[in-house]
Structures are given as C-alpha cells and as structure tokens.
C-alpha cells in the first residue's frame, strides 16, 4: 500500500530504494524515541546520505505539504522524534562522517549523525575533547544534542551544547541552504544560532555542525561524599559555590538511586548514606590538589559523614560509572520509569525534595532522585508499570505536579531533555499565551507552513485552554486511557 503513496513516488525520483522505508516491518523501529510511552508508525522513513538528497526531500515534502520529523539516534527522552502517521520521518543516521578536526583551531566539523563520544575519541590524540557529555553519549548523536541543547555532568563548568557549538549548516523546509554562526565569532545580525540550538528540529534540518574542542585538563579527581540527609547535601552544594569554586562536576544521588545503581555497576557507593555527592575538580595537578582540599574542608563543615577521593583515573571513572548508568540501572528494578528534567534555583532544593517525597506517599509510587546538583537540574525517576493503567495515570499526575512545582519556585520544566510531546502541556504553565504566540511567530519565520516537526515543543492555544480546564478539575484528568505525559 505504501508504495502507491505520492510521496514515495516523488522520493523515488532521486532516492535509491534502500533509502525509502514504507513497509510496516521496516518503519516499526522508528515508531518511538527514548520516550517509549508514545509510539506512532511514520507514513514513510527517508534515509538520505547526501546534503543534496536532504534538500530534495525537504523540497518534495514542502511542495506536497507533508510534515517532516527529523531524527538522530532516537535516544531523546521527550518524544521530540516521535513520528507522524501522515508524515515523513527524516533519519539522519547515515550522516556519520567527521569532516575535519583542526587541532590548531580547536574545532571539529561533523555531520549530525556522528555520535557524541566519537568526537572526544578522535580529538584525544591532540590533547583535546568535546565537553558536553550527556549520559547517553555513547549512543546519542551530535545532531540530536544540538536540537535538544543537551547538557551532561560537566556543564556547570564547561557549558551546555549551546556554549560548545560554533556554527551549523542545514536547510529550511523549502530546501534553502542555511549557515548560522561559524568559526568566526559573533556572526552579524541576530543570534540565530542561539535559536537553532535547542529548537527540537522545528526550525530547519541540520546537515553539518562545527564544534568547539577544549584542551583536556591535565588531571581530574572526584570526591565522593556521604550525607545523613538530603537537605544537608543540598546545603553543601551551595557552600561549595559560595566559596568561589566552580567544580568540574557536582552531582547528587539519593539512597534509592545509589541502591539501584550499586547492584548494577558496583561503583562503590556508600549505601548507608541518605545521599551522596560527587564533586569533581580538574586542572593542573597543583590546582586539583588545592581545590580538592578546599572542597573537602567545605563538605566536612557541611556535615559530610564520609569522604573518599579518587586515587587514580580508573577509580574516578568507576565513581562516575554509577551516575552515568543511573537510568539503565533504574530500568532494571522497575518495569518502567519516567524521568523528569526540571531545573530549580539551588536554594529551593530542600523544599522541592520534600515536595517530591510527599508525592511518593500521595501517589503510592517510588521516586529515586539523581541531580545535576551544581546547576539545579533534577532527574527524579518515577517507577511504574505501564501495563497497569492506574499506575500510568498516577505517574502522569505525579510528574505534572513536580514540573509545575519547578515553575512555581522560579525554575523550568526542562533543563536539558527538551519539551517534545512529553512536557507540552506544562509549557502552558510556564509560559503565557503572549509568549507562546511569539514562539509560534519565531517558527513561522523559518517554516511558514508549519511542516517541520509540527505539534512538538510549543502548544497551541486550544491545547492550553483544554489543559487549563483539566487542571481546574482537582487534578482529575478526563479520559485516563489517553497517553498524555
């Protein structure tokens, strides 16, 4: 049936047969991204290999008014790459080439399908690396990182994807070439690169990215500090920052999270502690020694009950392995888990943690916590069973309350995972109709027909008013059978 589709016929004029998937058995692997609660078979999957093919796919879809959803590795956690049943899923998986690494200029020019970790691996012989390191870095691609403005455990000191991308190249939905930013700083005109990073594939399609590489610090060591209660650990984070230290990484995990992780990776975490902090310093050996000593003093004052400093690189990586494996580890102790991504001002940490603990009781669901504590980015993981409709429903309500709490304390519903389809209702809480309308106008400036990844990230006014009505009804969602988070 798919072969008869006009879009398939049009794509066949310039794409080889292997680059067009339309049989269900071939399109099935693309039905969801890392947010597996949402699934939708795409009408067609296109797998271009050249910029010219991307340009023509976009022109074809634009002429036929068929929506296009770009996709990288499909590791995203917010459903940003969820296909449309009447759309083309544009997989950039074949754009896997590293085009250039220039060690003197400290830049890497890569195609969007290059995996995050590959950039650092290839830069290592020059003493350089690519700083943003999302936990999924062995699988996620640079194109997806740019689209979501991904973070990682080291972005407190080294910034997000936004701070480490110098330029991007791609095409508008009409197939016009676009170059934003570049190796020369401060491109003239508006900072469209800032708009592009984190635009969730809604403004244009990326085909090339220029990344900034940084010199690898000579050494790094991490302190693992135990705390008898979570709020003390939170206060310790503020103390470190107040002392004028910006650690290379500053992460927190609570006991339910360390227990889940420890069975899985044996990172050596203190399972007696209510929370542990991982506090990293990098630089010259002298700088690291000095900073580690200062941080130990501060953490001890803040009530740390135990501290271990990594003695060598193997131990440092082992301490981090547990944090980086936190999501898969939780995946092993529960049939499903739902990961949140709110960010709050650090000073409100204790309050928000108490709020989450109360919700665990209210909804009868467990919620281990891992945080990028240094920058206030929380990843509470609600454990549930998707086959149990009532648990799914309670999870939705739990998550919605947490995200709205993040907004209430002056934070945001998403720090690094993106809005996608997952948090689109909460956008109505964080932004007013006038602001959402401006977002829509920004999209129209690039994509007047609204064909690129429609229905993601920015809700319609109608959707917000429906969500507003639902919230008024005492948190009781109508139609609980509908997947909504």
């Amino acid at each position: 049936m798919g072969a008869a589709l006009p879009v398939v016929r049009a794509l066949r004029e310039f794409l080889p047969e292997r680059a067009i998937l339309h049989e269900e058995e071939d399109t099935r692997p693309y039905e969801c991204d890392g947010l597996t609660a949402y699934r939708q078979l795409p009408m067609v999957v296109a797998l271009p290999e050249t910029e010219e093919q991307v340009r023509r796919i976009l022109q074809t879809c634009s002429a036929l008014k068929i929506p296009v959803v770009p996709r990288g590795a499909g590791t995203g956690l917010s459903g940003g790459a969820l296909p449309l049943g009447d759309g083309v899923l544009l997989s950039m998986a074949k754009f896997m080439r590293v085009l250039r690494i220039d060690p003197l200029a400290r830049v890497a020019v890569v195609q969007p399908g290059v995996r995050n970790a590959v950039v650092s691996e290839l830069s290592a012989p020059f003493g350089l690396y690519y700083a943003p390191d999302p936990s999924s870095q062995i699988a996620c691609t640079i194109g997806g990182n740019v689209s979501e403005n991904s973070g990682g455990v080291h972005c407190l000191k080294y910034g997000l994807t936004l701070h480490n991308v110098l330029g991007v190249r791609g095409f508008t939905i009409d197939g016009e070439p676009l170059q934003l930013g570049g190796e020369a700083p401060d491109a003239p005109g508006y900072d469209l690169l800032a708009l592009a990073v984190g635009s969730e594939g809604m403004l244009f399609v990326l085909t090339e990215v220029t990344l900034k590489l940084l010199p690898k610090p000579q050494c790094a060591r991490v302190i693992m500090a135990s705390f008898g209660d979570v709020e003390k650990a939170g206060a310790a984070v503020a103390d470190v920052i107040a002392a004028g230290i910006v650690p290379a990484g500053l992460e927190m995990m609570d006991r339910p999270a360390t227990q889940a992780v420890e069975q899985f990776v044996h990172a050596g975490y203190d399972l007696e502690a209510a929370a542990i902090l991982l506090c990293e310093s990098d630089g010259t050996p002298e700088e690291v020694e000095d900073e580690i000593a200062r941080m130990q003093t501060l953490l001890a004052h803040a009530g740390a009950t135990r501290m271990t400093v990594s003695r060598d690189e193997a131990e440092r990586l082992r301490f981090w392995s547990g944090r980086k494996a936190a999501f898969p580890a939780v995946g092993r102790i529960s049939p499903d888990y739902y990961c949140m991504d709110g960010t709050i001002p650090r000073k409100r940490l204790g309050e928000v943690l108490r709020f989450i603990a109360a919700l665990e009781k209210k909804y009868g669901l467990r919620c281990p916590n891992v945080f990028h504590a240094g920058d206030g980015n929380l990843h509470p993981l609600i454990l549930f069973d998707a086959n149990n409709a009532d648990e799914l429903h309670r999870t939705e309500l739990f998550a919605g309350e947490v995200l709205e709490k993040c907004v209430e304390v002056g934070g945001t519903i998403t720090g690094e995972h993106g809005v996608g389809v997952e948090k689109i209702n909460q956008m109505c809480v964080q932004f007013r109709p006038t602001e959402l309308e401006l977002f829509r106008a920004v999209k129209r400036a690039f994509d007047p027909q609204g064909l690129l990844n429609p229905g993601k990230a920015v809700p319609t006014l109608a959707r917000c008013s429906e969500y507003g009505r639902m919230r008024v009804h005492g948190g009781q969602l109508p139609h609980p059978e509908l997947p909504r988070f």
Binding site: L128, Q179, A184, L195, G244, E287, D290, H417, E435, A445
Partner: protein
C-alpha cells in the same frame, strides 16, 4: 513601572512613531544611523535579585554597569565576558543590547553565553518573559539569547538575568616580542593546551598575555610562557579602547575571523585579540576591500567607529537570512518602532 514603559511603547506603536532605545548613550556610535525619539531607560534601574550562591544576578535595564560590577566584586564575583563600557554612563540594558564582549571572550565565552533570561517589552507593549534564573533551561526557543546583541531592534530588554563567575584568585600579565604570524601561532597553540590564558592581544610586534586562575596555576603557566611581567593596566585600555591604537580619525574596523586565519594584508594598523579571532583595523581602506578580505577567510567585518557609515555598519546578510531577520523583526515589532535601521534596513 514596567507598565508605564509598556504604555509608552504601545502609544508609540499606535502612532508608528520610531523610538530610539537608549541608556547612557555610551554606544551611540555603534550601528547604523540613529533614528527616532530618544526613549531613556535609565529610570528603570536596580538589582532585582542577587544571591551569590546561585551565581546569578537579575537587574533592570537602566542599572549602571559599573555599579553592578562593583556589587559583584564585593562578593568576589564578576561578569565573565568582561564587557566594554565605553563611558561611565553605560547601563546593563545597553550592554546586553549591544552584545559586545571584552578581552576574556575567547576563554570565558561571549555575553550571550551568560544570558539566562530576559523580561522583554515587545512592539505591542507586551511584557514577556523568556528563560529564567536557572543555569539550564530548554523550554521554548532561546529568545533571551536572540535579543542579546540585537541592538534594541526586537524590543526593550527591561530586565535581564546573567550567569556569573567567581573572580579568579590570581592574575598576571606577560609581554613577549613576536611578529604577527608567530604571535598568531603562539596564541592558537596556547589555547589548545590546558593553560589559564584569559586574554591575548598583539600589536606592533608585541604579544601580551593574561593568565587568570589559581595562584599555583598562574605561576606554573607563566614559567612556561616566558616573557616579562607587565604592571600597567593594559587590558582596561584594550577593553575600553583608550589604548593609543584606537585614537586618530581613521575608521575603526572590527574583523571577526577564524582564529588561525593568516595575517590580513590590508592597509593601516592592526591590533589582534581573542587568540587571533578578532582583528581591529584602523584604516581608510575601501570598505569593499575590507569586507572581501574578511569574507575570504570565512569571517565578517563591522565598521565599528567611523564618521561615514554609508557602507553599512554590518556585513550584509545572505538573502535567506535577511528574510528570516525581516520576519523576526515584524514578529517582535510589527509597527517597526524600535531602533529602525540601526542593524540592517530589514531589521
């Protein structure tokens, strides 16, 4: 107070009366010709929130930049992008609207990298909030960073939240003799090593380097780099353009290029910053020649200070980008009242 600003803007929009958004006027020289009735932002001033442990400050547009920096300094913190003031009257709003960064830009990042959120009054007189006061925020398009450097053409930046950094413990400036090509190579090589280089400048055979960081780190790096310690307050002169290079009647060009670009063969004198990525040129060279030289190395040239800006202050945009600029401008400012033409005719 923000309502009365919004009211005035609504009224101007209703009458299609152009407004020239202005703080202390220290950057009146920057951009294309000024048009419209002066809309003074200095009445809307003051720090809204500052908690050193959050590494974030939120302040109103009319806040004096030097007073803000004094307050941060008292808490051992700073604006990491080291913005130029170009006069004692500089305001925070003007600083963000101009989007200019100082000597620390190559190592610490640009102004836009530190913008976390803005409260913006658009051309309909609506007060809108984008971003926030947290370090990580990917909800919605990054409008806060879009308006940074937009020269007030998209709206009045009424409030802004900026990420801060602790002031470095130690700082030291060194000077070496080096011809231009050698200096460019050295600056790029240093930047690829884990050295605490926080600023570089080359002019007439002299390469000046600033190291910032822990006392131990600065001391160790200084030994490796060599050269002689410099005591004069050199970087302020570069940042504020009070250094002798910047004086004289000839036009001042700001060429932004990839840092490894070879020496640019252009008439006039040059001063290089940002590890080679920023080349200041004092020259009466034909604007077309200057822009072509920048373009040849994938860069662009801004006519930074000049009595005659007929050539246009900023490098022209590709047609697709010009169209996007025009559409963004009309989305934010449908009546076209904010600083019309200051950046481009279409913006």
């Amino acid at each position: 107070m923000i309502e009365s600003l919004a009211d005035s803007i609504r009224e101007a929009a209703a009458r299609h009366r152009p407004l020239r958004l202005r703080g202390g006027g220290t950057k009146d020289f920057y951009g294309n010709a000024l048009r419209g009735e002066v809309f003074d932002t200095r009445g809307y001033s003051g720090i809204v929130a500052y908690e050193p442990t959050e590494l974030v400050v939120t302040a109103r547009c009319g806040t004096s930049l030097s007073e803000l920096e004094k307050k941060l300094e008292a808490n051992g913190q700073c604006l990491p992008f080291e913005p130029p003031h170009f006069g004692p009257g500089a305001t925070l709003g003007g600083c963000v609207a101009a989007g200019l960064s100082g000597p620390r830009r190559a190592s610490a990042g640009a102004l836009r990298d530190f913008v976390l959120g803005v409260k913006l009054i658009d051309g309909r007189g609506q007060a809108l909030s984008f971003g926030g006061q947290v370090m990580k925020n990917v909800a919605g398009y990054d409008v806060s960073r879009l308006v940074a450097g937009s020269l007030g053409t998209l709206g009045l930046i009424a409030e802004v939240s900026l990420k801060l950094a602790p002031k470095p413990q130690a700082e030291s400036t060194l000077r070496l003799e080096a011809p231009q090509a050698r200096a460019l190579e050295l600056m790029n090589r240093w930047a690829g090593q884990p050295l605490p280089v926080s600023a570089t400048a080359w002019h007439e055979g002299e390469l000046t380097v600033r190291l910032s960081g822990s006392a131990a780190g600065v001391r160790a790096a200084a030994e490796g780099i060599g050269g002689a310690a410099l005591d004069e307050p050199f970087w302020r002169g570069i940042r504020e353009q009070s250094h002798a290079f910047f004086s004289g009647p000839k036009p001042l060009w700001r060429l932004s290029v990839p840092s490894t670009s070879p020496p640019l063969e252009l008439q006039g004198r040059q001063l290089i910053e940002w590890g080679g990525a920023l080349r200041w040129l004092k020259s009466s060279e034909d604007p077309k020649t200057v822009r072509a030289a920048a373009k040849r190395c994938n860069g662009h040239a801004t006519l930074f200070r000049a009595p005659d800006k007929a050539a246009g202050c900023f490098s022209p945009l590709e047609p697709v980008l010009a169209r996007v600029h025009g559409q963004l401008k009309s989305a934010f400012d449908p009546a076209g009242i904010f600083n019309p033409g200051r950046m481009y005719p279409e913006a």
